[in-house]
Every structure is written in structure tokens, then in C-alpha cells.
Amino acid sequence: MARLKQASVRNRLLAAMSPDDFALLQPALEPVQLELRQHVFRAGETISHLLFPESGLVSIVADIEEGRFEVGMAGWEGLIGVPLVLGVDVTPHTALIQSPGDGYRAPAEQMHLLLEKSASLRSLLLRYVHTFLVQVSQTAYANAGYSVEARLARWILMNHDRVESDELAITHEFMAIMLGTRRPGVTLALQNLEGSQLIRATRGRILIRNRAALEELAGDAYGFAEREYTNVLQLPIRRGQ
């Protein structure tokens, strides 16, 4: 494989790290395809790699007896394997590819050594971990205080921030899993958003028509975590920033 250049990477964390840290990490990175609905890691199993998505989207989901629901997501703005950054290699959560894409991954053992070796690399990734925790906290806040319509609007916006298109390829069933509800509830909410001309929903696809109105509907459930990401990492995340 040709030597990976920092100028050519799209992952925000890889691009934002110092050239010295990138040079340290680069030999450990290998390209990887992210296939729809494949698992990056499963609950209770050892996390073998730290993944830096270049495109696509990965959901961190909690599996419980009554079903599974999303607790967080990451794409090109972040990494998959937060527990590894914190020195933990097994987690009760599962990382599921929600939207296909590609990325670079580094073996857990090498990441462990590199994080010990470079304080600046460790600091950057820990700052990302903080923003991810804020995102997860906001998911809890949204679940506790907001209707499914507002949560769906937030979820669509978070997807929109992490893909290059205005169109999302997603089934109602998958959205129901992500939002911790049942499919008829998602159908109801989507038709409501479509009736207000915020989106256009066809089978398996959502076209975003009015992002500003989606932000208004999502209220405080959206924006808080995104501002924190930008403040802490000095990187944009919201579309249009």
C-alpha cells in the first residue's frame, strides 16, 4: 500500500492531529471497508481495533432483552472504539454499521502503546471521548424529554452532518431500532415531518428538504453536543459551518 498522507485523509481526528502524531500512527493504519449492518465490534467481545471512519456511519447500540437501541453514533468526525482510548477492551455495547463507507483502523495493542508514548495524541483522542460522552448524554436527554418527532429530527440532523448527501438510505425498521421504538411509530413520525415539508420520505430513503425547520423541531435535543465538539476540538461538525 502506498504511504498514507495526512493531507489526503477525511477523518477529522486523523487530519487534526500533529504531523508527528500522524507519522507515529500511520504505520499502524490499514484501510477497511465498512459494510452495511456489519459489526465493528460486538457486546462482550474483545475490541480488536480502533477505527477512524472516512465515510459512512457507525451506531453504538445497547442490546437488551426487549430489543436494541442506539446510544451514540460516529462517522468521519470521530472514532469507533472509545473504550480502547480509555484503556478498556470489552464493552457491553455493540458497534453496528448504519451507513456503508470506508476508514482506517489500527490494532488495539499498537494503539495502547502509541497512546502511552504520545501525550498529545492521547490528549486529542480523550478530548474526542469527552465530546462523545456529551453526545450520549444528549441522547439520554432527548429520550427523556422529547417526542419521537423531535428525536427523529435530531437523528436525521446527526446523520446529515456525517454524510455528503441530502439523501439518507434507511429503512423504517432500522430507524425504529435506532430510536428505540416500533416501526409504526416511525412511519407516523415520518409522515408528520413529510406533511410539514421538512423531508421527503420514499421507501428506504429520506430526502432532507428543510434543515432549518428540522433544527427548530429538534429544539435543545440537537446542537448542544455539536457545539461542544466544535469548542473542544476546534473542528466544525454541523452542515453549513
Binding site: T181, R182, P184, T187, L188
Partner: protein, 92 residues
Amino acid sequence: MCSSCRSEEVSDIPGRYFMNLRYRHKYYADHEGDELSSEGAVRAHALSTAKDLIRFHRTDIVRDWFDCTLEVTNEAGKIVATVPFGDVVAEL
């Protein structure tokens, strides 16, 4: 089985069943469906769906879930079960 639940000739053939939602005069069609082992499993699945919606699904649209009904159709578009959300209470 409740009086409001319609289930005629029950088929044992596995298939895809669509959980369409009727709320007052509005109808929300399900285009994806669920794979179920038989028509006999439809009612239990519809009741479980309704129960989860009542328990966890806070919506701006439906004022009262008990005004809702799941109208389950098979792949041929035939209604195989009509399950009012009130039946969740009847099953408790």
C-alpha cells in the same frame, strides 16, 4: 380472543405481515412489514407492537393511543387481523 379482533381462516404459512396504523380518520401504511412464522402469530405480534408504542412512544400526533388500531395485512393486501390498542388492556 376479543370480540373486536378479526381473524378468519388462519394460515400456517410463514410470510410478511404489514402493521398498518389507523388513528381516527388517518391511515399510516406500513410498506416494510415483519416476517412472521404464521398468520397465527400476527395477533401476538400486533399486541406487542401496540404495547411498546403505548409504553415508550411519546408523539406529537396521537393524543390517545387507545384511539388507534393496527390493521394487519398479508402480502396479498388482505386484512388478516384488526387489533384495537385497547386490547392491550384486555390482555393484562
